[in-house]
């Protein structure tokens, strides 16, 4: 039994209750509809800039790019240009592929003992598949939500909506009906992927062992966001015009709180606000961190170029050349080999201490 996910789950349930009771019972719509979203966005922006500037100030003491292929060396040895990038251009290509395709996650393997004590590694693709589905579905959902934040709605949002609602699934009975308004695939994919990622942490013993509340909380929270969104769209229904009036008020800096939108909408908004405010201080900052990870964004030219540690302060050093200059005469006298032959100065006496 793992208490960590219970902490996270209870936190999300508490957030739900706070938002629902706050708006549906106490009627604090101004607080949950205007004040908290503004506060959350401010925390999000300031937090992200603060975090990233902190990373920008940090030193990179070592050249630690991960090499996943043959390094560039002799001309007749074929090097892996992307997985062991020796030039800036190749690093940029590697970064783009890392950010858009999660290539390092693709290499995920599962280790286990088979037939007694034979250690085996198996390629494990499902984490990569669900992570890709999750992130892209979330991106589509976010871009789709621009329809509520922009007036008139730009063409790319409409285009995305059309593609997203490509499958027209309609179940129409008096008691149960789904499909009007049209079903967006991205929302369902997001919910399915986040559920898989959550179950992965709960079911696989090794992953559960290393999971903390900070791992479960965003998953439960995003599950809550996707769930309340889907609930509003397909089941409980809300007055979209009123919802857009509120969101447009927020982005045009003339906040209004229209009547006619229910508690679930404010729960959705409060969950999103929580996610935004939580983002900069959590593991979710991998969104910015991936660009700044030295294992990915450094060139693997450690043999060609010396990586200067920025911490290095000037250290007094005494090279062999200097040592020999200082003691050459004595070394020759003692019969030790010297690099430069000793020439006895003609007029002046040998001033060895001058170097």
């Amino acid at each position: 039994m793992n208490k960590h996910y219970l902490y996270a789950l209870s936190a999300v349930i508490a957030l739900f209750l706070v938002a629902y009771v706050g708006t549906a019972v106490l009627g604090l719509r101004l607080i949950f509809g205007v004040l908290i979203p503004y506060l959350a966005v401010t925390v999000f922006i300031v937090g992200i800039v603060y975090k990233i500037m902190g990373w920008a100030r940090s030193a990179v003491p070592f050249c630690i790019p991960t090499t996943c292929g043959q390094q560039k060396s002799l001309p007749w040895i074929r090097s892996n240009k992307i997985d062991c990038p020796s030039s800036t251009g190749a690093v940029i290509i590697r970064m783009i592929l890392e950010v858009t395709c999660f290539r390092s996650l693709f290499r995920n393997t599962k280790m286990r003992l088979e037939e007694g004590n034979r250690l085996t590694y198996k390629w494990e693709i499902w984490l990569w598949v669900s992570a890709l589905a999750f992130h892209y579905a979330f991106l589509v959902v976010i871009v789709r939500h621009l329809r509520l934040f922009i007036e008139p709605v730009p063409f790319f949002v409409r285009m995305l909506e059309n593609v997203d609602s490509f499958f027209r699934v309609e179940v129409l009975y008096d008691a149960f009906q789904v499909g009007l308004p049209g079903i967006y695939l991205s929302g369902l994919v997001l919910l399915a992927a986040v559920t898989f990622l959550l179950l992965r942490r709960l079911v696989i013993p090794q992953v559960r062992y290393i999971s903390l509340a900070a791992d479960y909380f965003p998953l439960f929270l995003i599950f809550g966001i996707a769930f309340t969104g889907i609930l509003m769209r397909y089941v409980t229904k809300i007055d979209v015009t009123a919802a857009k009036t509120l969101t447009m008020g927020l982005v045009t800096l003339h906040p209004t709180v229209p009547a006619g939108i229910g508690g679930i909408f404010y729960v959705h908004l409060f969950f999103v606000s929580t996610l935004l405010a939580y983002f900069p201080f959590s593991k979710l900052m991998h969104a910015g961190g991936v660009f700044l990870s030295p294992t990915r964004n450094m060139t693997t030219n450690s043999r060609e170029k010396r990586h200067e540690n920025p911490w290095n302060y000037p250290v007094p050093i005494h090279t062999y050349e200097e040592y020999e200059d200082e003691f050459r005469e004595k070394m020759v006298e003692a019969g030790l080999p010297v690099d430069k032959p000793f020439v006895k100065p003609a007029e002046e006496p040998a001033d060895s201490s001058a170097k």
Partner: protein, 129 residues
């Protein structure tokens, strides 16, 4: 350290993208569309269902009507108050709400919704004018 200018450029790009709705809407008033009711609709006072229900659920009701008419050839709708209506978009809904451009399209455009009603149904009001 040495990459500070690139990192700051990245942050600026991120902030520009994140605040896209803010500066895109700048200087643009985008008031919510107001429903314009025709004289006939005003006179009727009540729709087939209460206003609050209609605002959020009209698409579902229309879907159920279509299903009832096309699949089950059931054409009568009895609302909770016992009033009987003919299930028909063209003849019942558009009879009162004959101003499609003002009544339907305004909100649908505002919320970026493209209902496929008009793939088959005709907006008769244009012919009448």
């Amino acid at each position: 350290m040495n990459d500070k200018k690139w990192i700051i450029a990245g942050i600026v790009v991120f902030l520009a993208l994140f605040t896209f709705p803010l500066w895109y809407n700048m200087g643009r008033a985008a008031p919510a569309p107001e429903l314009i009711l025709t004289e006939k609709a005003k006179a009727a006072r009540e729709c087939v269902m209460p206003e609050k229900y209609m605002r959020a659920n009209h698409m579902q009701l229309l879907g159920q009507w279509r299903h009832a008419v096309v699949r089950n050839s059931k054409r009568e709708f009895v609302n909770p108050e016992g009033k009987v209506f003919t299930m028909s978009l063209s003849n019942t809904c558009l009879d009162c709400h004959s101003n499609k451009a003002d009544f339907c399209d305004k909100c649908h455009n505002y919320a970026s919704v493209t209902p496929y009603c008009w793939d088959c149904h005709l907006d008769r009001s244009k012919e009448n004018e």
